[in-house]
Amino acid sequence: MASLRCLLRSGKTAVRAVLRREFHGTPPAAVQVTVRDALNQAMDEELERDERVFLLGEEVAQYDGAYKVSRGLWKKYGDKRIIDTPITEMGFAGIAVGAAMAGLRPICEFMTFNFSMQAIDQVINSAAKTYYMSAGRQSVPIVFRGPNGASAGVAAQHSQCFAAWYGHCPGLKVVSPWSAEDARGLLKSAIRDDNPVVFLENELMYGVPFEMSEESQSKDFLIPIGKAKIERQGNHITVVSHSRMVSLCLDAAAVLAKEGIECEVINMRTIRPLDAEAIETSVMKTNHLITVEGGWPQFGVGGEILARIMEGPAFNYLDAPAVRVTGVDIPMPYAKILEDNSVPQIKDIIFSVKKTLNA
């Protein structure tokens, strides 16, 4: 019986393989892909597509990536295109920017964005501002990518969210994918973009599988930078979020739906340029707004969204003040109970929704 099952299983695989070989036009079926694999595939495809693309960073080559995001790439592309760097962020970020200025298309990985602070001058002053300062003579087609924000138990120096810091600067595009589809489509867009893109991943999301549609598995599947996505439609309140917090918002929305409260969950996908229009359209429908982020409250992503709503057409449609759900305004503690209470939980989102709706 077992051998029959094996035969059938392998037979199924064989048939699928045959189909794939003989009918090139048939797209692959929807599959489950982790965020990590989506990022890996995106980089693989872009490396293959354009000779000028290369990856550099700590442990990206022989270690297969500190978080295994670049697994297999060094074996496939070799030393020239997958480069292990010494632990010298300011130096290698600068080298990456210089390479971009001279015609290559580097992907510069920061092991976490906390370490990008050491190199932040190169990101801002050398990359972001150069096209403007040179009045269009010198472009910088570079991607800075890596995990951003809170992880699990890595404490204060390794848990900061940089969305607001980079989102502040003109000349940068700042992207924050949530799902595997986001990761794939946005990373491909970022690599093909001729401008500096800061690509904020999330370590806790790397292992999370998502269903990827057939369309999203195509080699030219791109998600436009600067456009948000409505992950869940609803009429009562707009919930805007990015990165891992989108998962929590959807979970909260599921709980709230049981009580008859329908949330419209918007996945920002891009921090800068911010898709204010998508948020405004939603708010004009639901009349209520909360933002949810993992980063600190002061001068953060939520603050910017609220300011824009105040200044824009959606203000008159608000039936209650818009509020922000954010990380607690403290350096990240280590102990689990403390860490858990330093970032928004599902119950915090539910609480804030109900307060806003006066429910």
Binding site: P86, I95, G98, M133
Partner: protein
């Protein structure tokens, strides 16, 4: 130096011709190198005249900038290069225009040698639309083909330069990158990070330290535990030479370029030079050094005078010829200054342009929510 020239000219008078002369340079100090650049080089008449003209152009351009700054027509930061001309000119003659170069903020001379015109440099200083960066960059942010500025953050240009060199190696185009920094920047951590990676990956990068003895107002003795900047690359071979002698700089650069192009990896040059002006126009330059010191360099080691004397004593040019070049240069500078002071400022609708390359037009928030400005690539 004068004495040496007399000796040389006595020796060579017999063999010197109007077409060229074989000249002797001073020996370079070497670090981890078996041999250095050749001690003798041929300077042809054409070369000599061209170097003279270019150095004089830089000199006069910088002095005009000084004038315009004092008249408040140039504003903000203005770091002048007069005194250091032999470095920019010597380096350029040792490489090709297809090679790459990056430097810090004392960049007007390099902008010229790398293909910029005096007009567009001066108009950039005065912030006009005819400026090399359309008035949007200013003194410290000028760019031309294969010239990556003009960089305001001390030391940041060094990793950038190594990155350009990485691209050269990656693309296999046999080009190199000359990466300049000052004695002040030489202590920056990111420079040592760059030495490490450039050496590890054998990047075709010539690191050049323009040691003008002062980082802003701090003398080298007060800033560096080791002032042997040519040795600070440690595992990177280095040479130290007289940066006031354009021929010396040229030969050393050729030597260094050959080293890089042959795949040996980076090399470091220290050019000993001097700036007549203070650090910038807001620095009179005499609180941390004496007027006597400045005067001594002017009279004994001025790069333009040195070249002039050399050419005259080797019968490579006449006093009248050189005077004629002076007159032409003066005219060019006057014309450029005229342009720079009369060209209009950039139009206001250029304010938000050039944020992104190859992007559709977008909206940029003005100073208030009702002001929406347009931005195109």
């Amino acid at each position: 130096m004068r004495k040496m020239l007399t000796i040389i000219s006595n020796v060579l008078r017999g063999s010197a011709s109007r077409n060229g002369a074989e000249l002797v340079s001073e020996k370079c100090d070497l670090h981890k190198l078996e041999e250095g650049p050749p001690l003798q080089a041929v300077l042809t008449r054409e070369e000599g005249l061209q170097y003279y003209r270019t150095m004089q152009t830089i000199r006069r351009m910088e002095l005009k900038a000084d004038q315009l700054y004092k008249q408040k027509i140039i504003r903000g930061f203005c770091h002048l290069y007069d005194g250091q001309e032999a470095c920019a000119v010597g380096i350029e003659t040792g490489i090709n225009l297809s090679d790459h170069l990056i430097t810090a903020y004392r960049a007007h001379g390099y902008t010229l040698t790398r293909g910029g015109t005096v007009r567009e440099i001066m108009a950039e200083l005065t912030g006009r639309r005819g400026g090399i960066a359309k008035g949007k960059g200013g003194s410290m942010h000028m760019y031309t083909k294969h010239f990556y500025g003009g960089n305001g953050i001390v030391g940041a240009q060094v990793p950038l330069g190594a990155g350009v060199a990485l691209a050269c190696k990656y693309l296999g185009n046999n080009e190199i990158c000359v990466c300049l920094y000052g004695d002040g920047a030489a202590n920056q951590g990111q420079i040592f990070e760059t030495y490490n990676m450039a050496s590890l990956w054998k990047l075709p990068c010539i690191f050049i330290c323009e040691n003008n003895k002062y980082g802003m107002g701090t003398s080298v003795e007060r800033a560096a535990a080791s002032t042997d900047y040519y040795k600070r690359g440690d595992f990177i071979p280095g040479l130290r030479l007289d940066g006031m002698d354009v021929l010396c700089v040229r030969e050393a650069t050729k030597f260094a370029a050959e080293h890089c192009r042959s795949g040996k990896g980076p090399i470091l040059m220290e050019l000993q030079t001097y700036r007549y002006h203070g650090h910038s126009m807001s620095d009179p330059g005499v609180s941390y050094r004496t007027r006597e010191e400045i005067q001594e360099v002017r009279s004994k080691s001025d790069p333009i005078s040195m070249l002039k004397d050399r050419m005259l004593s080797n019968n490579m040019a006449s006093v009248e010829e050189l005077k004629e070049i002076d007159v032409e240069v003066r005219k060019e500078i006057e014309d450029a200054a005229q342009f720079a002071t009369t060209d209009p400022e950039p139009p206001l609708d250029d304010l938000c342009n050039h944020i992104f390359y190859n992007d559709p037009p977008m909206e940029v928030r003005g100073t208030n929510p009702w002001t929406k400005l347009k931005s195109v690539s």
